[in-house]
Structures are given as C-alpha cells and as structure tokens.
Amino acid sequence: MWREVKNDKLALIGLFFFIVIVATVYLWYPFIDQAAADRVNLLTRNLPPGEGGFLLGTDPSGRDMLPRLILSARNSFNIAFLVTGGATLIGVFVGLFSGYYGGHVDNVIMRIIDFITMVPFIMLVIVFVALIPNYTPLTFSLIFIAFSWQPTARLIRAKALQQGELDYVSASKTLGTPNIIIIFREVLPNLVSIITSNLTLTLAANMGIETGLTFLGFGLPHGVPSLGNLVHFARIPYDMQNRMWLWLPAALLIIVMMLCINFVGQALNRAADAKKRTI
C-alpha cells in the first residue's frame, strides 16, 4: 500500500500537505484565545486583510478572521474525522456480518439498507436536523453517521461474500475456529486495503458534504465556527464580490484538503485493486 503512495508523486504531495494542514490546525488551536476570538468589536468591522494588523481581515462583527479560520477548520475537521470513522466502523461491522453469514441475516440487513437509502441522504439529514431542537455538533455527527454507513456496508458485504467462498475460510471452519474469530482474525485483514481506500475517499466526500449542508443551514449550528459557515458569507452578492477575504480562505482550504485526501485515496485505491496496481 505504502509503495503505491510512494511512487505516486501527487499522492506524496497530497499526503504531505494533508499532514501539514491538519498539524497546523490542531497545534495552533490550543493557543487561540477563544474569548478574544469571539469578541465583537464594532470598530474593526469588515477590515480587508492586512489592515489594522489583521492578517486575514475581519468579519462583519469585527472579529479577526485568522483565529476564526483555525477554529472553523478544527471544528469541520473534527466532524469529518468523527463521521468518517463512525460510519466506516458501523459499515465494516454490518458488511462483514451480512456478507459472512449470508442467508437470512444478509437478506434482512440488505433490505434495511435498501430501505434507508431509498430517500436521498441529503433529504434525510435535513429532516432529522430540523427534527432535533437545539442540536449540537455531536447530534449532527450522529445523524450524519446514521445515514452514511450504508455504502460502506454494501461494499464490505460484497467483499466478505467473496471471501466467505474461499478455501481458507472453509478450512478454518472445519478446524472448528469460531465464526467471530474467522471474521475478525482471518477475513478482516484481507479487506484492510479496501477499507483504507474507501475510508480516505469518503473522508474527502464528507468534508464537502458537511460544507454543503452547513451552507444550506442544516449542518453545524450557526454559532459554531465552521468552514461551511464561513463559506456562507458568500451568500450576500456584495460580500462575495467585494469582501472575498470573508469566504475565500475557507473555500480554498476545503478544496486543498479534499484534493490532498483524494490524491492519497486514489493511490490507495489502486493499491487495493491488483488489476489497477502500477507497480
């Protein structure tokens, strides 16, 4: 897996910038004075970058954009990591059980997944976000997880189904190995590469979806600084054109992050599929 990444220049560059950005955001975060970052100051409203000592300018409430960008990035990354991790975990478990046992278990689980995916994901999240009064970033993540593990489960199920047919599984069964051990000690390791590549690609997608949902007003709550909320400044045509410092850094940060993750993800994807491997 690592060899495929190492030989792909774009993937290496992507990985490098990904680590740099994530490290900057998380290492800088503890040094931000949150109270100062949230303080409204009418004298410093809408200052362009560089003016009055504000490197990235200020927002309509007179707050320094630089710490806000870091805070927002941290919140958005947290959500993206949490959601991707949670959804992958559930997806892998459900997929493994469904695919390994097959038969009725599989049938019931697949019908449930079919049922949930009948309604577009975005609609489901919007409805459930509207349903919960005073929702927090945590409840938002839970809703997000609840409706985004299904594609992973489908993928892993298909792979587990293939693995279950193989000789090593039947050999292990005849030796009397308990199913649980076969699933986790023998089948799961064979799926690690496909799980990692799927994990990276969904991480990138989830970042974009979080931004989109927050932009629509059904993502992170308005008070929580997030990249989507920063991009939301562009809804006002005047600000979009004349106060680009309000939303452009956040928009660029999302794109750069998603690009980096996708570059790595594609290399991992090639590594997971013997047919596409380049080395």
Partner: protein, 324 residues
C-alpha cells in the same frame, strides 16, 4: 427477468407505505407547525387554535395519517400547503417547481455527457500520456470541489465579474411577463451556469467508467482479431470498441439523471433557482409538511424507479447480464 422486475415493483409498495408512515410520524414529532408563521401580533390563542382545527392538526396523528393517505389513494389529492402558499393544493405548488428542476436536470445531463464522453475516450486513447494525465487531474479537481463552493466560484467569475450569465433565479421578471420566445430564451440563459456547474462535477464517474471500459476492450480478443485482419485503427475504435463501451453508459442514464436530480439540492440553493430542491428546503424550514412529505415520497419513488429502469435497460442492451 420480467418476473423479477414485477417482484421488485411489488416489494416497492409495502416499502412506500412504511416510508410514508415514518415520514408522517417524523413530521408530527418535529417542533413547531406551519401555522405559526402566519400569526400576526394581534392573533389570539383562540384564532390560532381555530386555524389548527381547520387544518385538521388537532386530530390524533393516525386520523390525520388515514385522511392524508385516503385522499392520496382515493382522489389523488396530496393535501393543501400550509406554510409556503397557504390553501393551495400541494400538487400545484410542486407542479410549479417541477418543470424548472426537470429542465435543469436535462440540461445538466446533456452537458455532462457532452463533456464526459469525449474526455473519457481521449483519456483512454492517449493512455499514460500527457493528455490522459491532464484529464485525470481534471477529474481529481472535479471530485474535490464541493458543489456549493464550485457554484459560488462560477457565480463570482462568470456572473458577477464578467456578466456572461445571470447570477440567480430561473427566469427574468420582465421576460416572464413578455412570455413566448423571450421567456424561453431567458429560461435557457438562467439554466446554463447552474447546469454547467452540476455537469462538470458529475462527469467524474462517467469519465472513469468509459476510460476503463475502453482500456479493457483494447486488450480483448475481438479487438486483436480485428487488428490482425487489418482493420484500420480508427475503425476499430468507432466500430468495435466504442459501440461496446458506450452501451453501458447509455444504460446508466437513468441513474445519472437521478443523481443529477438529487445534486440539484445544492446547486438550486446556491443559484437561488426555484426548483424542487429549493422548495424542499423551504418547506422544511417553514414546517410545511404536506409539501415536504410529498417531496420525500416523490424522490424515493424516483430513485427506486430509476434504478429499475437502468437495470431493465442494461439487460436489454447486454443480454448476458441477468438481474435477480
């Protein structure tokens, strides 16, 4: 095959019933109701309760559900809107928006194939060369652009900075009044930028798929045979490879257009384009459940049917594939 398709249709019916029930219960749990938006400073509690009574909101939920379902099944009546345009039938409110979304989706799909098919073919023919790599980088970028951000960039660049396209809406007010050809042109003009935005983001899967299909076919036996017979290279591509590679792409049209339909949630909001996606978001914000519930059911049916159509189309195109 037709038996399996019939069976899948039959499964669909109970699924839709359960879905409608869940959707209805969720709407009941949701805090607030559409009528609160219509209250003025002088409205008394009694007047508010009278409004609720008239809309039937004071009945127990199962009575309301039975009435809603009964009206739909017996009279094709999906209820009346409560918040967005009070008193008007839901079908009318949605019907107003549907042509816009359908137009947008068709235009988007048209652009999508116009961009993706040539790029996919080029990438495969120049495999490993600079052109292929450029196209692959393009797909990476398109994959990494959230539709909201890409939409905003396009508005800023092409609608605000250079005024090539209108920046928002689905038709010009004056053109709407003028009607006829003027209105039609104005609609098209308003469609171009959102459609291009959606199309460029949607091209990725089609390009990947087409590229790998063509590369697979290049190594297949019938191409080797054709080559050894001395068929010119161009003819191999047009007559042998493309015919085979484009068929599954055509078969997946239903799924692509369903994806475009759903993708229009973000695009419509960014471009303030008054379509169904935007209607759904406002209906949830205004707690206009008759409209929201009907839209959810509509999207669910559309999704399932488009997958079914794609499956049927693929089996017709390629008889080797059997669906079960």
């Amino acid at each position: 095959m037709w038996k399996t398709i019939a069976r899948r249709f039959l499964i669909l019916i109970p699924q839709l019933f359960v879905l409608s029930l869940i959707v209805f219960i969720i709407a009941q749990i949701m805090p607030g109701d559409a009528l609160r938006g219509r209250l003025g400073p002088d409205t008394t509690f009694e007047q508010y309760m009278a409004l609720r009574e008239a809309a039937g909101l004071n009945d127990p939920w199962y009575v309301q559900y039975a009435r809603w379902m009964g009206d739909i099944l017996l009279r094709g009546d999906f209820g009346t809107s409560l918040g967005i345009s009070p008193g008007r039938p839901v079908t009318e409110v949605i019907g107003e928006r549907m042509p816009n979304t359908v137009r947008l989706s068709l235009m988007t799909s048209l652009f999508l194939y116009m961009i993706a098919v040539p790029l996919g073919i080029l990438a495969a023919r120049k495999k490993g060369r600079i052109l292929d790599k450029t196209i692959m980088v393009y797909t990476f970028v398109a994959l990494s652009l959230p539709s909201v951000v890409f939409g905003l960039f396009n508005i800023l660049n092409f609608a605000l900075n250079r005024q090539w396209f209108p920046s928002r809406g689905s038709i010009d007010v004056l053109a709407f009044g003028a009607g006829g050809m003027v209105a039609f042109m104005s609609r098209i003009e308003h469609l171009l930028l959102p459609a291009l935005t959606g199309a460029m983001l949607g091209t990725v899967t089609v390009i990947y798929f087409l590229r790998s299909e063509i590369i697979d076919f290049e190594a297949s036996d019938f191409v080797t045979t054709a080559k050894s017979k001395g068929v010119p290279n161009n003819k191999i591509y047009t007559r042998h490879i493309l015919r085979n590679a484009l068929l599954p792409i055509a078969g997946h049209f239903g799924i692509v257009i369903a994806g475009v339909f759903v993708g229009s949630f973000f695009i419509e909001t960014v471009f303030s384009f008054s379509g169904m996606g935007e209607l759904f978001i406002t209906s949830i914000m205004r707690r206009d459940f008759p409209v929201a519930n009907t839209l959810i059911m509509f999207y669910a049916i559309m999704g399932v049917v488009s997958v079914l159509i794609a499956d049927i189309a693929i089996t017709i195109i390629d008889p080797r594939i059997r669906i079960k």
